[in-house]
Amino acid sequence: MNIQLTVNGQDRTVEISPDMRLLDLLRDVLGLISVKEGCSEGECGACTVIMDGKAVTSCTVMAFQAEGSDIMTTEGLAQRGELDPIQQAFMDNDAVQCGFCTPGMIMSTKALLMQNPDPSEEEARRALEGNICRCTGYIPIINAVLDAARRLRDEGL
């Protein structure tokens, strides 16, 4: 079956099979390998993408359900060869170790900051509760989220 959707700002028509998940569509059909598969059960957040403005785990969405939706992955963040301020903040705050959780963390952060440009630490923690990191111990990640928010606000001024 064919579905139409927008991925990282581009309109796409994609051939899928009915048993594919959104995760499979993005990784295997479109080659967007920033989207990681960890637990396959909606628990770890590694496969997080933004669907119509909201963070979702792409391993628990069927691909056919994404018909007509607007999907954003980490590949869609960098503009003209420059990292997005969220990506830069993750690097500058040492919020990346093995990196497996990072794209999911970044998309959860992006979804948060799209709705709430000035989150408290508590709000940042809550927004990322569905993302698990085995390496960093979360503190640098939360610092990165708050730092990214600051950078984006400064940019907006």
Partner: protein, 282 residues
């Protein structure tokens, strides 16, 4: 596997009418996608409900709050009508510890899946909510939340039927509350939870208390309700209240290995509820 996305209720009814037997309805997918993948041998024919706008509306009509079946936890957490008229439901929805699951998981999906641990179900029960179930012919039946789940992952839903909405009566002066003890920082399906509704200014109105995640359906805690009513009428004893809750747990899951933990955990939640009601009465 087959898949279709009806865009209206009429289209859904005709899909269900043509091929009712093999169909499986999907909404947020937070439970079903995992189930589908665990059984590659089964021939699933999925029908998506998230493409039907009428199913996700939240409205107030004729002293009732009507929550569309595909309203997400996030919708319930943030809807001013749900926060006002069904506080326990919005508290339960917001207690689900993963943003991604709150964004996708739906109230109807929780019910249809018959998951004993779903947080929203005892919250709906304490508000005397009812599920509106429709068949492909447009025939509607209404089921109390308390009796909706009939056993482990089984419900009153029959093939060819779908939940269209949850109706919650709006009652003057009624407040409600929810809390849970979870298993993990994040995704936490409840180990045990507690939901209550009460009328702080009208002492003789009924208090309703349900314990969730100890049986397949929410468990009514009648003895604890009596003690909380006494508190609202000006007396009441917290220790008796906590003991009553704990006894209800013991009576519901006698001999279960989780009993020693759960009968203590419920006291922690009961303590929070008692203090909350006292605070409101002040």
């Amino acid at each position: 596997m087959r898949a279709c996305r009806p865009s209206s209720l009429d289209e859904l009814r005709s899909v269900l009418g043509s091929d009712g037997e093999a169909l499986k309805l999907i909404a947020g997918g937070t439970d079903l996608v995992i189930e589908v993948r665990a059984h590659p041998e089964r021939e699933y024919s999925l029908v998506d409900l998230t493409s039907i706008p009428e199913l996700s509306l939240i409205s107030v009509e004729a002293r009732q709050l009507c929550v569309g079946a595909t309203s997400t936890h996030r919708d319930m957490e943030t809807s001013p009508s749900v926060i006002k008229h069904a506080t326990a439901i919005s508290m339960a929805a917001s207690s689900v510890g993963s943003t991604q699951i709150r964004n996708r998981g739906t109230v109807g999906g929780n019910l249809a899946h018959g998951s004993a641990a779903a947080d929203t179900i005892p919250a709906m029960a304490c508000l005397e909510a009812e599920a509106v179930v429709e068949s492909c012919t447009g025939n509607q039946t209404v089921h109390s939340i308390e009796n909706f789940i009939t056993g482990r992952n089984s419900t009153v839903l029959e093939k060819g039927q779908f939940i269209s909405s949850i109706k919650i009566p709006i009652r003057e002066g009624r407040l409600s509350w929810f809390a849970k003890v979870g298993s993990r920082r994040a995704v936490t399906i409840s180990k045990i939870n507690l939901a209550a509704s009460f009328y702080p200014d009208i002492p003789n109105k009924p208090v309703k208390i349900y314990i969730g995640a100890i049986a397949s359906s929410p468990t009514r805690a009648s003895k604890a309700e009596e003690e909380l009513s006494r508190l609202i009428s000006g007396s009441g004893c917290k220790d008796s209240f906590l003991r009553a809750l704990s006894d209800t747990v013991a009576d519901t899951i006698p001999g279960r290995s989780s009993l020693p933990y759960k009968r203590e955990a419920i006291k922690g939640l009961g303590d929070q509820l008692w203090d909350h009601v006292k605070e409101v009465l002040r």
